[in-house]
Amino acid sequence: MNEQNSKSKDVTRDIDRAIRRANDRIERCRDEIGKAVIGQKEMIDGMLTGILAGGHILLEGVPGLAKTLAIRSLAQVLDASFSRIQFTPDLLPADLVGTMIYRQQTGEFVARKGPVFSNVILADEINRAPAKVQSALLEAMQERQVTIGETTFELPNPFFVMATQNPIEQEGTYPLPEAQLDRFIMKLAITYPTAGEELEILRRVGVEFNPKLEKVLFGSDIQEIRGTVEQISVDERIEEYIVQLVTASRKQGERRSFHRYIEFGASPRASIYLYRCAKVHALFEGRSHVLPDDVKAVAPGVLRHRIIPSYEAEAEQLSSTDLVDLLLSAVPVP
């Protein structure tokens, strides 16, 4: 008993050390990005959560909120290849994925890989591209492989897509259908900075400003941190809480008062992503176990784009975020 106890204590100490190490790196990463991006802590944490949970992120916000800057900074800080794809209505899937080109010397077709073959991809204004291009990207995101001509190529690892979307409804945009939205682990709503932050931005960026960011996070680090995340324990009561949250969003089983605002609830995929993100959040907090707080913290990002509001909600001007709040305040915490 005593031996076992001391052993389990050792394990605990190991995890704690690993968590501390991981957090140090993440902190350095944040600091480095913070040189270029002022404020927007939520967005940066969300992006890091996405990388560590192995999912892709959708950023929604009006133009000029440093979305692109933040993603580029993240790519700089990571030791990773980065490509930015500006989605336009005339983009073709081949522009993304690559195409077969004819090589005259050999008289053969050779595959030329597209920009999708990078570790970090910024898919800017994804809703401006036609559906075929969107689905090509989303397929690549899911399969982690791409077929050009008849050859199938593996995508690099880590492979991390950050798509941005402009909420301003414009002519000639192709809103992502729900099924495609579901494939993003989180949808982050980027808001305006605070007045203080804005003042700070002005002071720093007022003069020409192009800080050189150091690479502080390497591929091996990411693997290691992911390993640490996996070790974070999730109590079964937390697991049940996650499943309850997701199933409560659906119009089946127990009827809840907010169900009339929901057209469609979250899919089982939502519970998987909630689970993973909550673990990453616990790591950020330096804990070796997940608390309900972690689940609640990541729930808006994970559930926001998976709950489709009904007409009634629209009539009462309730956004998906409000619906998630209603959900969180209705499901008992374990």
Binding site: S233, R237, I238, S288, H289, L291, P292, D293, S329, A330
Partner: protein
């Protein structure tokens, strides 16, 4: 002397008349019809045994209660038959006037007259209700009392009593979460060895959440420990306690989290201390709350302003 002689003769005549007049026996009497009502003519027949010869009087005496319309006399066996037609206008036992039949005077006859109207009644009355079985009276009385009591109660409850009872009920209700919490703490204290450390904190945290939900008008069941700690000042305020009264609960929430989700061991001693803490905080909050209620019956908003 002549005058006195005449007087004597007259008196003798009178005395003889008086004596001779009472010598009769009524053998039989018949009434036609047998029952008579007010306004009905009744024929009364009496068989009178008497030596005297009866002469129908010229004038039939008229009683106050009706008319005697005809008096006839027929000779009968050992005397005569007296027949009278009487129309009474009053109910009851009526005494017939003395009937002077020359040699005999019949008196002391009486007649029972019914009325289709109940006695002592004047004018029409509404129809009677159905007749009750004897003995239902008491039950009806009780029932009536019951009904009127209920009506009075309802009126009371709708009127001034409502607020009163409401306040009693709400005062009682307001104490329920407090009593419940104390009771559960007691049970936990007793069963402290029965529960695992984890179960112990699951129950304790849930009880605290329930208690807080009742006190702060917010669903604390769906609040995490961090959120609960953030709600504590509101709890203190709603009970009118000074800031920091509920602060010891913070430690308990954090301990509960680490017991529930991190599976950290928390020693029994500490657990017992936590129970004592919860008890003490609950008692303290309750005493403040009651004092708040009793002292000034101001609406809660004002109190909270005062508290701020």
């Amino acid at each position: 002397m002549r005058r006195s002689a005449l007087l004597v003769v007259f008196m003798l005549v009178v005395a003889w008349g008086a004596v001779s007049q009472s010598s009769y026996v009524i053998v039989d009497s018949v009434r036609l019809p047998a029952e008579s009502y007010v306004g009905d003519p009744v024929e009364l027949r009496y068989s009178v045994r008497s030596q005297a010869t009866a002469i129908v009087p010229d004038e039939t005496p008229q009683p106050r209660w009706g008319d005697i319309t005809a008096v006839r006399v027929q000779p009968g066996a050992g005397g005569f038959d007296l027949r009278m037609t009487v129309t009474p206008y009053e109910p009851g036992t009526l005494t017939l006037p003395r009937i002077d039949l020359g040699e005999v005077r019949i008196e002391g006859l009486s007649l029972i007259v019914d009325s289709i109207l109940p006695p002592g009644d004047v004018g029409l009355r509404p129809a009677h209700g159905p007749q009750r079985l004897p003995g239902t009276q008491a039950a009806l009385l009780l029932f009536g009392f019951g009904i009127s009591f209920v009506i009075a109660l309802v009126l009371y409850l709708l009127g001034p009593g409502r607020r009163h009872i409401h306040s009693i009920v709400s005062r009682y209700r307001a104490r329920v979460p407090y009593r419940r919490l104390l009771a559960r703490v007691q049970v936990l204290e007793r069963d402290i060895n029965r529960h695992t450390m984890r179960e112990f904190y699951i129950i304790l945290a849930e009880e605290l959440q329930t208690f807080m939900t009742c006190r702060v008008k917010q669903n604390c069941m769906a609040a995490t420990s961090t959120e609960l700690i953030a709600i504590l000042p509101e709890l203190e305020e709603s009970c009118g306690a000074v800031a920091g009264t509920a602060a010891p609960l913070e430690e308990i929430f954090l301990a509960a989290d680490s017991a529930k989700f991190a599976r950290k061991t928390i020693r029994r001693k500490k657990r017992a201390r936590h129970l004592k803490l919860v008890h003490a905080v609950a008692v303290e909050l309750e005493s403040h709350r009651r004092r708040l209620r009793r002292s000034v019956r101001v609406p809660r908003e004002q109190v909270s302003h005062v508290g701020v």
